[in-house]
């Protein structure tokens, strides 16, 4: 059972990284197109982009911590 535990934790982290990976891609893609359309708003868009990344990333990081706890 001990070996199985480690393997499941690794798979759990892999699964936890799928959603945030797609999410961060969407956030950054939209931010890039926003900055390209309106370069004068780039500063505001960048701040909001980092906020969005930070909120999306949290799920993957919780998965990463669970990998160590499990």
């Amino acid at each position: 059972m001990e070996e199985l535990k480690g393997a499941i934790a690794v798979m759990g982290y892999g699964l936890a990284a799928i959603g945030p990976g797609i999410g961060i891609g969407l956030v950054v893609a939209s931010a890039i197109s926003a900055m390209a359309r309106q370069p004068e708003a780039a500063g505001m868009v960048r701040t909001t982009m980092f906020l969005g990344i930070a909120f999306t990333e949290a799920l993957a990081l919780i998965g990463f911590v669970l990998f160590f706890i499990a």
């Binding site: 070996e3 393997a7 701040t47 980092f50 930070a54 990081l61 911590v65 160590f68």
Partner: protein, 272 residues
């Protein structure tokens, strides 16, 4: 083979797929004291916290000691850092009243920045923010401040507006209110701490594993011959990650400060 599993102690030799470092528990534990002053034991982490504090105070003191019309290069660096925190984070997020929270945000930013950069400082190579106690303590401070500000500015309407959002159809209000309550008072401090902690732990582990495994391969060239060249790309990859970690250290300090400002802003203006 003995040396190759140096970085992962709890390896099962019969089943070499699963290797797990056996010392990750130290991330949540107290270490042995380096030395003790009276009743206070000083561990390596505590020593580095004090060192970070001294560095931040020294930087700010010498950067702002002489106010001149044309400041020195060092003074300009420190001033532009402070201006960034004030204009982009404090005033940019919270609004004109953000100047009141600017000293707190500046000390948060500088302390986390110095603490994170310890990760890539030669001879230290240990980010103090990769201990949960420090990330958790800082996020608890943010939690206390934004809850206090919310009650001070809005009284009990602060919690009322959270658990009974009037902009939502009435049938959904209990559900949305519950989600909002949990996410504001429980998940916010948790994710704030875990984000900083996990980023720093991940970077630290990655640097250690890549550089150490590369070094182990390259230094055992006498035993394994030309196969020691496997270590070269590992070591090069580790050095690439080294540069990446500098960016991560700065970005995480920025994000922690930015999110603290956003949380305070959402406690002041509860309408949205």
């Amino acid at each position: 083979m003995e040396q190759l599993i140096l970085a992962s102690g709890a390896c099962d030799p019969a089943n070499d797929i699963i290797c797990k470092p056996d010392n990750v528990i130290e991330l949540f534990k107290f270490e042995d004291n380096l030395f003790a002053i009276g009743p206070w034991g000083i561990t390596r982490t505590v020593f580095l916290i004090l060192l970070a504090m001294v560095i931040v105070l020294t930087l700010l003191f010498f950067g702002l000691r002489k106010r001149r019309m044309v400041p020195s290069k060092f003074g300009v660096t420190i001033e532009s850092l402070m201006q960034f925190v004030r204009d982009d984070i404090a005033v940019g997020i919270i609004g004109p009243e953000g100047t009141k929270y600017y000293p707190w945000l500046l000390s948060l930013f500088m302390f986390i920045l110095v603490g994170n950069l310890f990760e890539v400082t030669p001879l230290i190579n240990f980010p103090i923010t990769s201990r949960m106690a420090i990330a958790g303590g800082l996020s608890l401070l943010t939690w206390v401040i934004f809850v206090f500000v919310g009650f001070k500015k809005n009284g009990f309407r602060y919690v009322g507006a959270l658990v009974w959002p009037t902009t939502v159809p009435i049938a959904l209000r209990p559900l949305v209110g519950l989600i909002e309550f949990v996410s504001t008072f429980l998940l916010r401090p948790l994710t704030l701490a875990v984000r900083l902690f996990a980023n720093m732990v991940a970077g630290h582990l990655m640097l250690t594993l890549l550089l150490v495994s590369g070094w182990v391969f390259m230094s055992s060239v006498g035993e394994i011959g030309a196969r020691a060249l496997i270590g070269v790309p590992w070591f090069a990859f580790g050095l690439g990650i080294f540069v990446f970690e500098i960016i991560v250290a700065i970005l995480q300090a920025y994000i922690f400060t930015l999110l603290s400002a956003v949380y305070v802003e959402s406690s002041i203006h509860i309408e949205h």
